[in-house]
Amino acid sequence: METIKTEGDIETIIGASVRVEGDLIGQNNMKIFGQVAGKVQTKGDIFIEESANIEADVEATNVTISGTVEGSVKAIERLKVEKSGKISGDIAAKILSIATGASFSGQCNMINGDQPQSPTTTSKPKEKPTPESTTPPKQG
Protein backbone atom coordinates (compact mmCIF):
# COMPACT_ATOMS: atom_id res chain seq x y z
CA MET A 1 0.00 0.00 0.00
CA GLU A 2 2.84 2.37 -0.74
CA THR A 3 1.92 5.88 -1.80
CA ILE A 4 4.16 7.43 -4.41
CA LYS A 5 4.53 11.20 -4.25
CA THR A 6 6.82 13.71 -5.86
CA GLU A 7 8.04 16.89 -4.21
CA GLY A 8 5.03 19.07 -3.48
CA ASP A 9 2.67 16.45 -4.89
CA ILE A 10 0.03 16.83 -2.24
CA GLU A 11 -2.54 19.34 -1.21
CA THR A 12 -0.86 22.20 0.59
CA ILE A 13 -2.75 24.26 3.15
CA ILE A 14 -1.43 27.54 4.53
CA GLY A 15 -3.37 28.26 7.74
CA ALA A 16 -4.60 31.66 8.88
CA SER A 17 -1.93 31.93 11.56
CA VAL A 18 0.92 31.26 9.15
CA ARG A 19 3.07 33.61 7.07
CA VAL A 20 5.05 32.20 4.15
CA GLU A 21 7.98 34.10 2.66
CA GLY A 22 9.63 32.96 -0.57
CA ASP A 23 8.64 30.82 -3.51
CA LEU A 24 5.77 28.49 -2.69
CA ILE A 25 5.88 26.13 -5.64
CA GLY A 26 3.96 22.85 -5.87
CA GLN A 27 2.33 20.31 -8.16
CA ASN A 28 -1.15 19.90 -6.69
CA ASN A 29 -3.91 21.96 -5.14
CA MET A 30 -3.19 24.70 -2.62
CA LYS A 31 -5.51 26.38 -0.13
CA ILE A 32 -4.29 29.61 1.41
CA PHE A 33 -5.91 31.14 4.50
CA GLY A 34 -2.81 33.01 5.75
CA GLN A 35 -0.22 35.40 4.36
CA VAL A 36 2.22 34.78 1.52
CA ALA A 37 4.97 37.12 0.31
CA GLY A 38 6.97 36.01 -2.72
CA LYS A 39 5.61 33.76 -5.44
CA VAL A 40 2.82 31.13 -5.51
CA GLN A 41 2.84 28.64 -8.33
CA THR A 42 1.31 25.21 -8.89
CA LYS A 43 0.25 22.92 -11.71
CA GLY A 44 -2.93 22.26 -9.73
CA ASP A 45 -5.53 24.72 -8.48
CA ILE A 46 -5.20 27.51 -5.94
CA PHE A 47 -7.92 28.63 -3.54
CA ILE A 48 -7.14 31.98 -1.90
CA GLU A 49 -9.59 32.12 1.00
CA GLU A 50 -11.22 35.20 2.55
CA SER A 51 -8.69 35.56 5.37
CA ALA A 52 -5.71 35.29 3.00
CA ASN A 53 -3.41 38.18 2.18
CA ILE A 54 -1.08 37.51 -0.74
CA GLU A 55 1.75 39.83 -1.74
CA ALA A 56 2.93 37.64 -4.55
CA ASP A 57 2.50 36.69 -8.17
CA VAL A 58 0.11 33.76 -8.44
CA GLU A 59 0.03 31.13 -11.18
CA ALA A 60 -2.02 27.94 -11.39
CA THR A 61 -4.39 25.98 -13.62
CA ASN A 62 -7.51 27.30 -11.89
CA VAL A 63 -7.47 30.14 -9.39
CA THR A 64 -10.31 31.07 -7.02
CA ILE A 65 -9.84 34.28 -5.06
CA SER A 66 -11.91 35.20 -2.01
CA GLY A 67 -9.10 37.05 -0.23
CA THR A 68 -6.67 39.83 -1.11
CA VAL A 69 -3.95 39.58 -3.76
CA GLU A 70 -1.35 42.23 -4.48
CA GLY A 71 0.47 40.91 -7.53
CA SER A 72 -0.25 39.42 -10.92
CA VAL A 73 -2.57 36.43 -11.25
CA LYS A 74 -2.34 33.93 -14.10
CA ALA A 75 -4.84 31.10 -14.48
CA ILE A 76 -4.08 28.69 -17.31
CA GLU A 77 -7.78 27.78 -17.33
CA ARG A 78 -10.20 29.67 -15.07
CA LEU A 79 -9.89 32.64 -12.76
CA LYS A 80 -12.83 33.10 -10.42
CA VAL A 81 -12.97 36.17 -8.20
CA GLU A 82 -15.56 35.84 -5.44
CA LYS A 83 -17.45 38.84 -4.01
CA SER A 84 -14.96 39.20 -1.15
CA GLY A 85 -11.97 38.96 -3.52
CA LYS A 86 -9.62 41.89 -4.08
CA ILE A 87 -6.91 41.94 -6.75
CA SER A 88 -4.40 44.70 -7.20
CA GLY A 89 -2.33 43.60 -10.19
CA ASP A 90 -2.61 42.27 -13.72
CA ILE A 91 -4.63 39.15 -14.43
CA ALA A 92 -4.55 36.60 -17.23
CA ALA A 93 -6.97 33.70 -17.75
CA LYS A 94 -8.73 31.63 -20.39
CA ILE A 95 -12.05 31.90 -18.52
CA LEU A 96 -12.76 34.78 -16.17
CA SER A 97 -15.56 35.31 -13.71
CA ILE A 98 -15.83 38.21 -11.28
CA ALA A 99 -18.64 38.36 -8.74
CA THR A 100 -20.52 41.50 -7.72
CA GLY A 101 -18.68 43.27 -4.97
CA ALA A 102 -15.25 42.01 -5.99
CA SER A 103 -12.48 44.53 -6.49
CA PHE A 104 -9.96 44.49 -9.33
CA SER A 105 -7.32 47.05 -10.23
CA GLY A 106 -4.97 46.23 -13.12
CA GLN A 107 -4.86 44.94 -16.65
CA CYS A 108 -6.72 41.92 -17.95
CA ASN A 109 -5.32 39.56 -20.57
CA MET A 110 -7.56 36.82 -21.92
CA ILE A 111 -5.59 33.71 -22.84
CA ASN A 112 -6.77 31.97 -25.98
CA GLY A 113 -4.96 28.69 -26.59
CA ASP A 114 -1.36 29.41 -27.57
CA GLN A 115 -2.12 32.93 -28.79
CA PRO A 116 -1.96 35.47 -25.99
CA GLN A 117 -4.32 38.42 -26.42
CA SER A 118 -3.24 42.02 -26.04
CA PRO A 119 -3.90 43.34 -22.53
CA THR A 120 -7.17 45.11 -21.83
CA THR A 121 -7.11 47.96 -19.37
CA THR A 122 -9.93 47.92 -16.85
CA SER A 123 -11.43 50.59 -14.64
CA LYS A 124 -10.13 50.83 -11.04
CA PRO A 125 -11.76 49.33 -9.08
CA LYS A 126 -14.12 47.28 -11.17
CA GLU A 127 -17.45 45.94 -10.07
CA LYS A 128 -19.62 43.74 -12.17
CA PRO A 129 -23.31 44.70 -12.35
CA THR A 130 -24.55 41.12 -12.51
CA PRO A 131 -24.23 38.62 -9.65
CA GLU A 132 -21.67 36.62 -11.57
CA SER A 133 -20.59 36.76 -15.19
CA THR A 134 -18.38 34.37 -17.03
CA THR A 135 -16.26 35.09 -20.08
CA PRO A 136 -15.92 31.95 -22.17
CA PRO A 137 -12.71 31.29 -24.10
CA LYS A 138 -12.52 33.21 -27.35
CA GLN A 139 -12.71 31.13 -30.46
CA GLY A 140 -9.69 31.39 -32.75
Binding site: M1, T3, E7, D9, I13, G15, V20, D23, F33, G34
Partner: protein, 276 residues
Protein backbone atom coordinates in the same frame (compact mmCIF):
# COMPACT_ATOMS: atom_id res chain seq x y z
CA UNK B 1 14.77 -15.62 17.24
CA UNK B 2 12.93 -12.93 19.15
CA UNK B 3 14.63 -10.58 21.59
CA UNK B 4 12.44 -8.60 24.00
CA UNK B 5 13.45 -5.27 25.50
CA UNK B 6 11.43 -4.72 28.69
CA UNK B 7 10.92 -1.31 30.15
CA UNK B 8 10.84 -0.94 33.95
CA UNK B 9 7.13 -0.07 33.79
CA UNK B 10 6.42 -3.58 32.52
CA UNK B 11 7.59 -4.99 35.85
CA UNK B 12 5.58 -2.54 37.94
CA UNK B 13 2.82 -3.79 40.26
CA UNK B 14 -0.02 -2.47 38.09
CA UNK B 15 1.28 -4.53 35.19
CA UNK B 16 1.90 -7.82 37.03
CA UNK B 17 -1.20 -9.52 35.59
CA UNK B 18 -0.59 -8.18 32.09
CA UNK B 19 3.04 -9.28 32.24
CA UNK B 20 2.02 -12.79 33.25
CA UNK B 21 -0.50 -12.94 30.39
CA UNK B 22 2.17 -11.87 27.94
CA UNK B 23 4.68 -14.46 29.14
CA UNK B 24 2.09 -17.22 28.89
CA UNK B 25 0.94 -16.20 25.42
CA UNK B 26 4.48 -15.81 24.03
CA UNK B 27 5.32 -19.22 25.49
CA UNK B 28 2.23 -20.77 23.89
CA UNK B 29 3.20 -19.25 20.57
CA UNK B 30 6.76 -20.53 20.94
CA UNK B 31 8.33 -17.12 20.52
CA UNK B 32 9.45 -16.41 24.10
CA UNK B 33 13.17 -16.32 23.50
CA UNK B 34 15.71 -13.96 25.08
CA UNK B 35 14.99 -10.74 26.92
CA UNK B 36 16.70 -7.80 28.56
CA UNK B 37 15.19 -5.67 31.29
CA UNK B 38 16.35 -2.09 31.07
CA UNK B 39 17.98 -0.81 34.23
CA UNK B 40 20.63 1.66 35.28
CA UNK B 41 23.31 -0.80 34.21
CA UNK B 42 21.65 -2.11 31.05
CA UNK B 43 20.80 0.58 28.53
CA UNK B 44 18.55 -0.09 25.55
CA UNK B 45 21.48 0.69 23.23
CA UNK B 46 23.69 -1.95 24.91
CA UNK B 47 20.92 -4.54 25.05
CA UNK B 48 19.91 -4.13 21.41
CA UNK B 49 23.47 -3.94 20.12
CA UNK B 50 24.38 -7.05 22.12
CA UNK B 51 21.37 -8.96 20.78
CA UNK B 52 22.04 -8.00 17.17
CA UNK B 53 25.79 -8.67 17.50
CA UNK B 54 25.09 -12.20 18.77
CA UNK B 55 23.82 -13.03 15.28
CA UNK B 56 20.93 -15.05 16.77
CA UNK B 57 18.34 -12.29 17.02
CA UNK B 58 16.70 -10.47 14.14
CA UNK B 59 13.37 -9.62 15.75
CA UNK B 60 13.82 -6.88 18.34
CA UNK B 61 10.57 -6.40 20.27
CA UNK B 62 10.10 -3.40 22.57
CA UNK B 63 7.75 -4.08 25.46
CA UNK B 64 6.54 -0.85 27.03
CA UNK B 65 5.44 2.62 25.90
CA UNK B 66 6.44 5.24 23.31
CA UNK B 67 9.73 5.90 25.08
CA UNK B 68 10.70 2.20 25.03
CA UNK B 69 9.80 2.01 21.33
CA UNK B 70 11.57 5.27 20.44
CA UNK B 71 14.85 4.36 22.13
CA UNK B 72 14.73 0.78 20.79
CA UNK B 73 14.30 2.03 17.21
CA UNK B 74 17.17 4.50 17.68
CA UNK B 75 19.31 1.69 19.08
CA UNK B 76 18.53 -0.57 16.10
CA UNK B 77 19.35 2.15 13.59
CA UNK B 78 22.58 3.11 15.34
CA UNK B 79 23.84 -0.44 15.83
CA UNK B 80 26.58 -1.55 13.45
CA UNK B 81 25.25 -5.09 13.83
CA UNK B 82 21.87 -4.11 12.37
CA UNK B 83 21.17 -5.74 9.00
CA UNK B 84 18.49 -6.06 6.35
CA UNK B 85 17.05 -8.94 8.37
CA UNK B 86 16.52 -6.81 11.47
CA UNK B 87 12.86 -6.29 12.37
CA UNK B 88 11.27 -4.04 15.00
CA UNK B 89 8.08 -4.87 16.89
CA UNK B 90 6.17 -3.41 19.82
CA UNK B 91 4.01 -4.89 22.55
CA UNK B 92 2.40 -1.80 24.13
CA UNK B 93 1.90 -1.74 27.90
CA UNK B 94 0.79 1.89 28.17
CA UNK B 95 -1.01 4.27 25.80
CA UNK B 96 1.30 4.60 22.80
CA UNK B 97 1.09 6.62 19.59
CA UNK B 98 3.71 4.35 18.01
CA UNK B 99 1.44 1.36 18.73
CA UNK B 100 -1.30 3.31 16.91
CA UNK B 101 0.94 3.79 13.88
CA UNK B 102 1.92 0.12 13.76
CA UNK B 103 -1.60 -1.10 14.55
CA UNK B 104 -0.51 -3.04 17.62
CA UNK B 105 -3.42 -3.74 19.92
CA UNK B 106 -3.31 -2.78 23.61
CA UNK B 107 -4.91 -6.17 24.22
CA UNK B 108 -1.80 -8.16 25.20
CA UNK B 109 -2.92 -11.44 23.65
CA UNK B 110 -3.76 -9.76 20.32
CA UNK B 111 -0.43 -7.92 20.35
CA UNK B 112 1.45 -11.20 20.99
CA UNK B 113 -0.44 -12.85 18.12
CA UNK B 114 0.49 -10.00 15.78
CA UNK B 115 4.14 -10.42 16.79
CA UNK B 116 4.01 -14.14 16.05
CA UNK B 117 2.29 -13.57 12.68
CA UNK B 118 5.20 -11.28 11.79
CA UNK B 119 3.48 -9.31 9.03
CA UNK B 120 6.20 -6.94 7.87
CA UNK B 121 6.20 -3.48 6.31
CA UNK B 122 9.12 -1.21 5.48
CA UNK B 123 8.68 2.31 6.80
CA UNK B 124 10.41 5.68 6.54
CA UNK B 125 12.21 7.11 9.51
CA UNK B 126 12.48 10.81 10.22
CA UNK B 127 15.70 12.16 11.62
CA UNK B 128 16.56 15.31 13.52
CA UNK B 129 20.12 16.64 13.25
CA UNK B 130 21.17 13.13 12.21
CA UNK B 131 21.47 12.15 15.89
CA UNK B 132 17.85 11.35 16.67
CA UNK B 133 15.47 9.20 14.67
CA UNK B 134 11.69 9.35 15.01
CA UNK B 135 8.98 7.05 13.77
CA UNK B 136 5.95 9.30 14.45
CA UNK B 137 6.64 13.00 14.87
CA UNK B 138 8.55 15.93 16.23
CA UNK B 139 6.16 18.03 18.32
CA UNK B 140 7.11 21.62 18.99
CA UNK B 141 5.97 22.88 22.36
CA UNK B 142 6.17 26.57 23.10
CA UNK B 143 6.85 27.71 26.64
CA UNK B 144 4.76 30.65 27.82
CA UNK B 145 6.33 33.37 29.98
CA UNK B 146 6.75 31.96 33.49
CA UNK B 147 7.08 35.02 35.74
CA UNK B 148 4.03 36.64 37.35
CA UNK B 149 4.45 39.68 35.07
CA UNK B 150 4.81 37.37 32.15
CA UNK B 151 1.69 35.42 33.16
CA UNK B 152 -0.28 38.67 33.31
CA UNK B 153 1.02 39.58 29.88
CA UNK B 154 -0.03 36.17 28.64
CA UNK B 155 -3.57 36.72 29.93
CA UNK B 156 -3.93 40.08 28.20
CA UNK B 157 -2.06 39.19 25.05
CA UNK B 158 -2.27 35.47 24.47
CA UNK B 159 -1.55 35.48 20.76
CA UNK B 160 1.18 38.11 20.84
CA UNK B 161 3.29 36.40 23.47
CA UNK B 162 3.25 33.00 21.91
CA UNK B 163 6.75 32.18 20.62
CA UNK B 164 7.41 32.32 16.91
CA UNK B 165 8.73 29.31 15.09
CA UNK B 166 10.37 29.53 11.67
CA UNK B 167 10.53 26.49 9.45
CA UNK B 168 12.55 26.58 6.25
CA UNK B 169 11.05 24.39 3.53
CA UNK B 170 12.56 24.22 0.05
CA UNK B 171 12.59 27.83 -1.30
CA UNK B 172 10.34 29.38 1.33
CA UNK B 173 10.06 29.89 5.05
CA UNK B 174 7.00 29.37 7.22
CA UNK B 175 6.58 31.62 10.24
CA UNK B 176 3.96 30.70 12.78
CA UNK B 177 2.92 31.15 16.39
CA UNK B 178 0.36 28.35 16.22
CA UNK B 179 -0.48 26.47 19.42
CA UNK B 180 0.41 23.10 17.96
CA UNK B 181 3.21 22.55 15.49
CA UNK B 182 4.54 19.17 14.40
CA UNK B 183 6.64 17.49 11.78
CA UNK B 184 4.86 14.18 11.17
CA UNK B 185 6.02 10.94 9.60
CA UNK B 186 2.77 9.29 10.73
CA UNK B 187 -0.67 10.82 11.43
CA UNK B 188 -0.84 9.36 14.97
CA UNK B 189 -2.22 12.02 17.33
CA UNK B 190 -3.26 14.33 14.45
CA UNK B 191 -6.07 12.31 12.84
CA UNK B 192 -8.92 14.52 14.11
CA UNK B 193 -7.26 17.79 13.10
CA UNK B 194 -6.42 16.45 9.65
CA UNK B 195 -9.98 15.21 9.20
CA UNK B 196 -11.44 18.61 10.13
CA UNK B 197 -9.06 20.27 7.68
CA UNK B 198 -10.15 18.05 4.83
CA UNK B 199 -6.77 16.29 4.62
CA UNK B 200 -7.05 12.51 4.54
CA UNK B 201 -4.92 10.89 7.26
CA UNK B 202 -3.60 8.65 4.48
CA UNK B 203 -1.68 11.63 3.09
CA UNK B 204 0.58 11.51 6.14
CA UNK B 205 2.13 8.13 5.45
CA UNK B 206 5.36 6.66 6.79
CA UNK B 207 5.86 5.05 3.40
CA UNK B 208 5.80 8.07 1.08
CA UNK B 209 9.34 9.40 1.59
CA UNK B 210 8.03 12.67 3.04
CA UNK B 211 7.47 14.29 6.40
CA UNK B 212 4.60 16.72 6.82
CA UNK B 213 4.58 20.04 8.60
CA UNK B 214 1.24 20.50 10.40
CA UNK B 215 0.29 23.58 12.41
CA UNK B 216 -2.96 24.07 14.28
CA UNK B 217 -4.55 26.86 16.26
CA UNK B 218 -7.43 25.99 18.54
CA UNK B 219 -9.29 29.27 18.80
CA UNK B 220 -12.84 28.02 18.75
CA UNK B 221 -13.19 29.08 15.11
CA UNK B 222 -13.74 26.35 12.53
CA UNK B 223 -10.54 24.31 12.62
CA UNK B 224 -10.39 24.33 8.86
CA UNK B 225 -9.00 27.85 8.77
CA UNK B 226 -6.43 27.24 11.49
CA UNK B 227 -4.53 24.33 10.11
CA UNK B 228 -1.53 24.24 7.79
CA UNK B 229 -0.27 21.23 5.92
CA UNK B 230 2.95 21.15 3.90
CA UNK B 231 4.88 18.07 2.71
CA UNK B 232 8.66 18.13 2.42
CA UNK B 233 11.75 15.95 2.40
CA UNK B 234 13.92 18.41 4.30
CA UNK B 235 13.09 21.12 6.83
CA UNK B 236 14.94 23.32 9.25
CA UNK B 237 13.36 24.50 12.50
CA UNK B 238 14.59 27.65 14.24
CA UNK B 239 13.12 30.04 16.78
CA UNK B 240 14.28 33.20 18.55
CA UNK B 241 12.12 32.09 21.49
CA UNK B 242 12.39 29.31 24.05
CA UNK B 243 10.85 26.22 22.51
CA UNK B 244 11.24 22.50 23.09
CA UNK B 245 10.89 19.84 20.46
CA UNK B 246 9.79 16.37 21.51
CA UNK B 247 10.74 13.43 19.29
CA UNK B 248 8.01 10.76 19.48
CA UNK B 249 6.69 12.49 22.64
CA UNK B 250 9.84 11.21 24.31
CA UNK B 251 13.19 12.88 23.67
CA UNK B 252 13.67 16.64 24.18
CA UNK B 253 15.57 18.54 21.51
CA UNK B 254 16.51 22.21 21.13
CA UNK B 255 16.54 24.21 17.90
CA UNK B 256 18.07 24.74 15.41
CA UNK B 257 17.10 21.34 14.04
CA UNK B 258 17.55 20.01 10.55
CA UNK B 259 14.89 17.41 9.75
CA UNK B 260 15.08 14.80 7.03
CA UNK B 261 13.55 11.48 6.14
CA UNK B 262 15.17 8.14 5.35
CA UNK B 263 13.02 6.22 2.92
CA UNK B 264 12.00 2.72 4.04
CA UNK B 265 14.83 2.42 6.56
CA UNK B 266 13.17 0.04 9.00
CA UNK B 267 11.26 -3.23 8.80
CA UNK B 268 8.44 -3.32 11.33
CA UNK B 269 5.86 -5.86 12.48
CA UNK B 270 2.39 -4.42 11.92
CA UNK B 271 -1.10 -5.27 13.11
CA UNK B 272 -4.42 -5.02 11.28
CA UNK B 273 -5.19 -1.54 12.62
CA UNK B 274 -2.05 0.19 11.33
CA UNK B 275 -2.63 3.74 10.13
CA UNK B 276 -0.85 3.57 6.76
Amino acid sequence: MFFYVYDKLVGSKKNTKKFGQMQTKLNELGILNDKAEISTTTTIENAVDGALSSGRHYNIIAVGDDATAHYTINAILKSNASSKKTVFGLIPFDPSYIAGTLGMSHDIEKACLAISRRKLEKIDIGYANEGTCFINSLNITCKRLGSSVGKLRNIFSRQKKRPTVTIKVRDFTVKTSAQRIAICNSPAGWEEILKKSGVSAGKVSPQDGFVDLITHNDTGEPAKEDTSFISAQKLEITSPDKITILADYTKKLQPPIKVGVGKQLLKVIVGKERNF
